[in-house]
């Protein structure tokens, strides 16, 4: 490790540990945010078990499975990109991050078609078909659109972060010795994956 003196708040100090701890603190708040939504889900599902089951048949299990595999794979590529940069291989790191972004795009495209099909069939809250559904099924679709929507938003944010990091690797400001921004973006990306791991069985795999 190289050591160099820098004044506090001079903009030149780099504290990887503090940065990482801060990222984790943020991730804890994210866990509680989604945790609260999962609790709402739990109560409504316990109150309307049959409606949730029937409503879940409208989702395509195979598209959900493909998206799970896509996200898990992207989690691996982002983890490997950290390995690559720590070993000093910035080029490989960039390639792996590009694959991660590609996976994010695939995920969002599949999500777009899933949502598109639902909206076409009138499942979006307020549409004619939706308002004729039993109340329990309406609750399912409220939660489905809100939770997968919020998760999708996280995918977009994670993607933007990874693109920023890629730019920084290209210009050399993220490198072998200084790569906490990449690690933090990786942590965020894994969180996105972690939430999907729960969303998938709770919305797609009710049987």
């Amino acid at each position: 490790m190289e050591h160099s003196f820098s004044l506090p708040n001079s903009g030149h100090n780099y504290d990887a540990k503090a940065s990482k701890l801060g990222m984790w603190l943020f991730l804890y708040t994210e866990l509680l945010l989604f945790g609260g939504l999962f609790m709402v889900y739990m109560v409504y599902r316990a109150l309307n078990p049959d409606a949730f089951l029937i409503a879940s048949f409208n989702l395509n299990v195979w598209l959900g499975t493909i998206n799970t595999v896509v996200l898990l794979t992207s989690s691996m590529t982002v983890a490997m990109s950290i390995t690559a940069i720590q070993k000093g291989n910035s080029k490989l790191s960039l390639i792996l991050l590009a694959l991660t972004v590609a996976a994010a795009v695939i995920f969002l495209v599949i999500k777009y078609f899933e949502w598109g099909a639902k909206i076409e069939h009138g499942f979006w809250p307020g549409m004619d078909h939706f308002t004729n559904l039993p109340f329990g099924e309406q609750l399912y679709f409220y939660l489905y659109f809100f939770m997968t929507g919020l998760h999708g938003l996280h995918v977009v944010v994670g993607m933007v972060f990874i693109l920023i990091v890629m730019k920084k690797i290209k210009n050399g400001s993220q490198n072998k010795n200084k790569n906490q921004l990449l690690e933090n973006s990786g942590l965020y990306w894994h969180l996105v994956d972690l939430i999907w791991i729960y969303l998938f069985p709770l919305f797609y795999l009710i049987h």
Partner: protein, 103 residues
């Protein structure tokens, strides 16, 4: 002092190998297919399938946190903190369950 130095070493110098990440990915994919298989083809278990699905999801979450998120090799403080957050969540959950059970 020697302790902080040790933590520092662990923190900065452990590099997870490509093979380990790939192994983690394989186990996650296997668990995913397992949970889909149980849900789609073993449909009559009802509440048991919910429990199984959540159990498998939690195993997957732990694998992601431990290996991909590097918790396994990080200083203990991260694991302690996540334990605190999860306990908070469980307390909220228990309070919520009691609320709905006693209505």
């Amino acid at each position: 002092m020697s302790n902080t130095k040790n933590n520092h070493m662990e923190d900065s110098y452990h590099i997870t190998g490509y093979a380990e990440h790939f192994g983690t990915w394989v186990s996650l994919i296997l668990l995913t297919f397992m949970t889909v298989f149980i849900s789609v083809f073993g449909a009559d278990l009802n509440t048991l399938t919910v429990a199984t699905a959540l159990f498998i999801a939690s195993v997957k979450a732990l694998v992601v946190a431990y290996y991909f998120m590097h918790l396994k090799y990080d200083p203990k403080i991260y694991r302690i903190m996540i334990l605190i957050v999860m306990s908070m969540f469980v307390i909220f959950l228990i309070m919520l369950i009691f609320d709905y059970l006693t209505r």
